[in-house]
Symmetry: C2
């Protein structure tokens, strides 16, 4: 095969040397200019930028990473990208990261530890500077590779006894208490809870908060009124079915997430039960779609933007903190009730109250 005869023929991507040659400076000066080092005279700065523009040059991240040790890459692992909660979260996280000069690597673990393990591995090979583990899951054991390699991490609702690991605590309690109180004020006493899969921390925490809120409200908890679903729409349909099969049915259902609640809405409609007249339903997440369900879903908002911000901030502090700088190791994201159309006073009790003016 013929080799290229003239160097002119090779119109390859310009590198830092090309720029230096054109600007008639050393490559060190080009590097300094690009990185905004103050120690470059205005005269040369101008010449360098002019050459850069002319050549349409951009630096090679891999070379930069190799020598500087900083990849400016952040990993984000979500539980399930197909659950609308997560794309919204990824979107926020990416925006913030990009605004700060970072790039992100996204992976969806789908609750599968093996998948998680391979994506952690890939992230390690790419030398990520930190990983946001927003899978809310029980996959933490697989995270030891991150620990071993000393990679900063931020975990949702999970403490890892490691100096590089930060935690985002989600205060579901506020929102769930508000939801229960809202229902109680409306006159409900029989509140069921459609839980998430117990392998998720988030599901456990939410369920516990429901129990606490019920206790505080002085309401009895029936074991049968708590049913484990899987945070999917289908799961909500199934959960609803189980509840309706009970001899004494709840008048309101609190769901561990919005998808479950949407499943309930759907199942109730098909069975001819009117929401909210015959049954009140509350979700959790406040995904964009919640506003558009029929009726619009009353739900507990968990801000994706807040969560993304906390996750990024935790990682950034770990990645950029100087020696001796104190970093924040714990972050809190709160929740709040958004009242829309899926809650109302219970039908029967309302009549009963109307008849006597006294609650049971």
């Amino acid at each position: 095969m013929a080799r290229r005869v003239s160097s002119k023929a090779a119109a390859k991507t310009p590198d830092i040397r090309t720029v230096a040659a054109l600007a008639k400076v050393s490559i060190a000066t080009v590097s300094r200019t690009i990185n905004g080092s103050p120690a470059v005279s205005d005269r040369l700065t101008k010449r360098v930028w002019q050459a850069i523009k002319q050549l349409n040059y951009f630096p090679n991240t891999h070379a930069r990473t190799l020598v500087s040790g900083r990849s400016r890459l952040l990993g984000i692992i979500v539980e399930n990208i197909v659950n609308p909660f997560f794309p919204e979260l990824i979107q926020s996280f990416e925006e913030i990261a990009v605004a700060h000069g970072y790039e992100i690597l996204v992976s969806s673990s789908n609750g599968n530890p093996a998948v998680l393990a391979t994506c952690v591995r890939r992230m390690l090979e790419r030398k990520v500077e930190g990983v946001a583990v927003l899978s809310f899951g029980a996959e933490e054991p697989v995270l030891d590779q991150l620990v071993i390699n000393d990679i900063p991490m931020v975990l949702a609702e999970f403490h890892l006894d490691n100096p590089k690991a930060s935690t985002i605590l989600l205060d579901y309690s506020t929102g769930i208490h508000a939801a229960v109180n809202h229902l109680v004020k409306l006159g409900h006493r029989r509140l069921a809870f459609l839980a998430g899969p117990h392998k998720l921390h988030s599901a456990i925490t939410r369920e516990n908060d429901y129990r606490t809120a019920m206790a505080k409200a002085g309401l009895p908890i029936q074991k049968k009124w708590i049913v484990e679903c899987d945070h999917t729409l289908k799961g909500g349909v199934v959960g609803y079915g189980k509840l309706q099969a009970l001899p004494i049915r709840p008048t309101a259902i609190l769901c561990s997430n919005d998808m479950t609640a949407i499943g309930v809405l759907r199942a109730a409609y098909i069975e001819g039960l009117r929401v909210p007249q015959d049954l009140s339903v509350i979700g959790l997440d406040d995904i964009d779609f919640a506003e558009f369900t029929l009726p619009p879903l009353t739900t507990i908002r968990l801000s994706r933007a807040d969560l993304a911000r906390a996750a990024f901030e935790a990682l950034r502090q770990q990645a950029e903190h100087g020696i001796g700088t104190k970093i924040q190791r714990e972050f809190l994201v709160s929740t709040s009730l958004v009242v829309r159309g899926s809650t109302a006073p219970p039908a029967a009790e309302q009549e009963w109250v109307g008849a006597t003016g006294v609650k049971p």
Copy 2:
């Protein structure tokens, strides 16, 4: 600051030299072993792997990329990650890419050319080997940076006169014809079309296919029955409103995507129109959620998996083809009608037919 006294103290990430030393071979042998070169004896292969395991070593992608010129990174640009169609697409694309040893960089352009430009820039800096532009948009002019840098591309529904650019053609026609015929067979004659935003190629193509299908079916097209929406749920609600304000209303609505159709379903419900008895609705995409709308949505399926496969295949061929190898520059992804519950014979005409046995 005190320097490290003993090399023992530095428990830093092992590199290829560390492995070589432990296995008592040269770094070249380690490299060959990792890359599966056949030219390594079983004896050494074993020793090397053993050392790798012992040290928990993994190669540094940046160094690899730098020297080999191959990043094994692919970019994927979607229109809007919050539209459920896209997470499903990303999921598929990632699975395939990872299975072939590639990593992906995801960006959501949100129809914003400036955002697109910066994500292209970031992808260039990371030396992606190809970019799947699945934004279906009019942002192609911004893609010149990819062209200039000779980066392989695959575009949906857009031909770029560039040797590195492949195209995925979406055969909406099959699905849309099937949808129109389905409606016609049911007895509909007044079919409206809720189009997507005209800045999207996909929207234009779909609308044209609707016109063609209508013409083939011998049905008149009313200008007022084609209204431009924006592929969002809200847009569907608005579009529905415009259609209902017409003196002569359509009995069926074909929508440019599922989100629009879901908006129509919602608006119709609120206005007390029953779907499908009073109005038939058909979507396009077949997002996971379509199965769970009320009633379940009849829609035109566009397989995300097929699209992802085509996109990956196009990029892989460009990235890996040897000189002289013929590569496929055009790919076709088809569509098909999925009949569910949102279509039925039109109410009025059904009665009329019942009365006389003859159609108008």
